[in-house]
């Protein structure tokens, strides 16, 4: 696995829009972004409506994922090229999600919607219809997804990477500062977690830093290559971004995303918290 297997530039994406065998997918929480203009031919996935169970806090099940991708016209053989807003947070989440359900070929557009817009590249408002497919998903690959008990058991024994901003790590604020600060959970972080914010892995235009810069970042922060790793944030999308960096760009072997993240951990009764 190397960078070119998992990441494409905006130039590459623009040159390959409409290619057979490629499906561009925009993933945002706010679908008004897509509706206001998207990459030509890209289909939309709504982070909340399409990728979250409508009742419980969890993913949609395997069959629901199959139905979703079939309806969007995505085949098992297609290369799925994902981009989105928020510096690709939700696009990285979808990338991880597609991998969890066993999709073979997935790539991110470096910089996502932000770089695309800052470059003044063309956006389309045309509706996108693709013929339905018969998508088959695999059983979820739990080697890349961590649950709360594993996180508690990993205190002091694995790399726990808290990718939130420093002020969330210390409990000064409880959510990224574009959201109201009224939350049920306690502030702070998992004991022994290192705070390596996702933002240190990206440039201002949303593109990822170079492999050399990324490797140096984790070295400087004391990342232990001999240990397994769990990344978390508040709800699991920024930590998907870091999971992508560690596992897909840097090729670290055993990296999980804890999508329960701080919204779950900070609400658990009886677990240790550091501030």
């Amino acid at each position: 696995m190397s960078r070119s297997d998992v990441l494409v530039t905006a130039d590459w994406a623009q040159e390959h829009l409409g290619d057979p065998g490629l499906v561009f997918v925009e993933v945002d929480e706010d679908t008004s972004a897509y509706d206001g203009g998207h990459l030509e031919g890209a289909v939309k996935l709504d982070w909340r409506k399409d990728l979250q169970d409508p009742l419980r806090r969890d993913f949609v099940g395997r069959e629901a994922f199959e139905q979703l991708l079939s309806a969007r016209g995505i085949s098992n053989d297609d290369t799925v090229v994902i981009y989105g807003g928020n510096n690709n947070w939700f696009a990285a989440y979808a990338y991880w999600y597609f991998k969890l359900y066993g999709h073979q070929s997935v790539k991110l557009v470096d910089g996502g919607r932000k770089k695309w817009e800052l470059d003044g590249r063309p956006l389309s408002k045309d509706p996108v219809e693709r013929p339905a497919t018969q998508y088959k998903a695999s059983e979820p690959d739990l080697s890349i997804r961590a649950f709360r008990d594993e996180v508690v058991a990993s205190i002091g024994s694995k790399n726990l990477i808290d990718v939130r901003s420093p002020d969330e790590f210390t409990g000064k604020i409880l959510a990224p500062a574009h959201l109201p600060q009224e939350m049920a959970q306690k502030g702070g972080h998992v004991p022994t977690a290192k705070n390596i914010p996702w933002s240190k892995t990206a440039n201002e235009d949303g593109t990822f830093k170079s492999d050399e810069q990324l490797a140096a970042l984790y070295d400087e922060q004391g990342y232990d290559d001999s240990l397994a790793t769990i990344a978390y944030c508040r709800i699991g999308e920024r930590s998907s971004h870091t999971w992508f960096v560690l596992r897909e760009l840097l090729g670290k072997p055993d990296v999980k995303n804890y999508d329960g993240s701080w919204v779950e951990y900070g609400s658990l009764v009886g677990v240790p918290i550091e501030k």
Partner: protein, 97 residues
Amino acid sequence: MCGAPKQGGVLDGIDLSTQTVIQGSVWHDGAPVAGAYVRLLDETDEFTAEVVTSPEGEFRFFAAPGTWTLRSLAPVGRAERRVAAVVGLNETTLAID
């Protein structure tokens, strides 16, 4: 939810006795700049949040009391401003030269 709510508009339902709201608009050449990326940086200049301005050029953050830096990024240029925020409403303007 980590996606930003719609930027600008009224502050209905927001408790200004507990929230530290930093809001304002981005301007260039006498007009508001829609679709600018505005990021909020903490006292160490580390990224804390980012929003895209509304059609009226507005942005809004929910922070905490303290010193923050606002930086806007748009095809027409960049602007930066430090703000000392207190609990309640803190309003400011980012002007791109």
